[in-house]
Symmetry: C2
Subunit: 150 residues, 2 copies
Amino acid sequence: MKFSKKSEYGLRALIELTAVYGKDPIRRQQIADRQHIPLVFLEQILLALKHAGLLASTRGASGGYALIKPPSKVTLGQVIRILDGPLAPIGCVSKTAYRKCDDCPYVKKAYCPLQEVMGGVRNAIADILDNHSLEDFIAGARSPRKRSRK
Amino acid sequence: MKFSKKSEYGLRALIELTAVYGKDPIRRQQIADRQHIPLVFLEQILLALKHAGLLASTRGASGGYALIKPPSKVTLGQVIRILDGPLAPIGCVSKTAYRKCDDCPYVKKAYCPLQEVMGGVRNAIADILDNHSLEDFIAGARSPRKRSRK
DNA sequence: ACTATGTTGACACAGTCTATAAACATTAGG
DNA sequence: CCTAATGTTTATAGACTGTGTCAACATAGT
C-alpha cells in the first residue's frame, strides 16, 4: 500500500515548479539537483505531466519546464492519478476507473464485505488528496487548507 | 496507490476462514475454489499468515487451515501489514516502519510539505483499517462497526 | 506395523511491472 | 553552425505475481 516513487518524485518536482510559477521555465537538471531525483527518471515524469496538460516545455538553449495551470487549480489527487493511475486500493471500488472484479465471488451478489471497507478507504484518501492543491506547497505555509467535511 | 493482490487474496481467504471459526480446519483447495484464488499463490499467503500467528495448519488426510485468533481481535490493518508491509504511502510517514528519506531535501528542515499531506493520508487509512476487524466480514452483516472519531 | 493416499511445506523458476541508466536524435538560440 | 537544452528509444536490476516440483507428514485401511 504505497505510492510509487513516480508519484512522490512528481509531487516533489511540482513543489519546485510551483515555487516559480509565472516566471521563466526551469531546467530539469535544476529540479533533479534540488530534489535529489534521478535525472532520466524525472524526465519521464515531467513528460507525463506535460502530456496531461499541466506543464509546458521549451527546448533549446534557454529551455526548460514551467507550470501552466494555476497552482490552486491542480489537486494532488489529479497528479497522482496521472502518474499512478486510479487511487482506489482495489479495482472494484474505483470511481474514476471502475473495473468489475471477475474473480471475486461476490460480483453477482448485492454485497461484498471487502468492497464495503475498501470503498471507505478510497473515499478517505480521495477526500484528502482532492482537497489539497499545489497551492498548499508554497513556502513554509504551515496551514494546508483543511476543508470541513461535507 | 493500490493494495497488492496478495493482500486482497489474503483478506478474501480470511473471509472464508472467519466463516468457519471454531469448527474443523478447511483445505486450501476449498478456499481457492470459493474465492477464485490461484491455488499455489494462496499457499504462500496462508503460510505467511500462519507464521504471523493468525492461522494454524494441520497436515494429512483431514488437514487444512483454521483461524486461531478470535475474529474480533484481528484488524484488517494487521493483515495488510503482514502481507504488504507498512501501510504508509511514503516511507517517512510510517509509524510502524519509519524510514528517514535520504533523498528528500527537507530532511534537515523542520517542515516537509509532502510529509504533512501524506501523514494525513496515512492516518486516514490506518484509522479505517485498524478499526475494522474480521468480525465485520461475517455473514451479510450490513453494518461494519463505525467507530466515532476520537 | 506397513503402505497408500491426501494434505501442507519449501524451493526454485518465469513473466510482468517499476525504477533507473545510457545512448542518440531533435530543437532553438547566439 | 555549434552548443545547450529537451525528446525518444532501448536496456537493466529488482520487486511483485504466479507456477512447477518435490519433500515432509498425518490419517486410514490392511
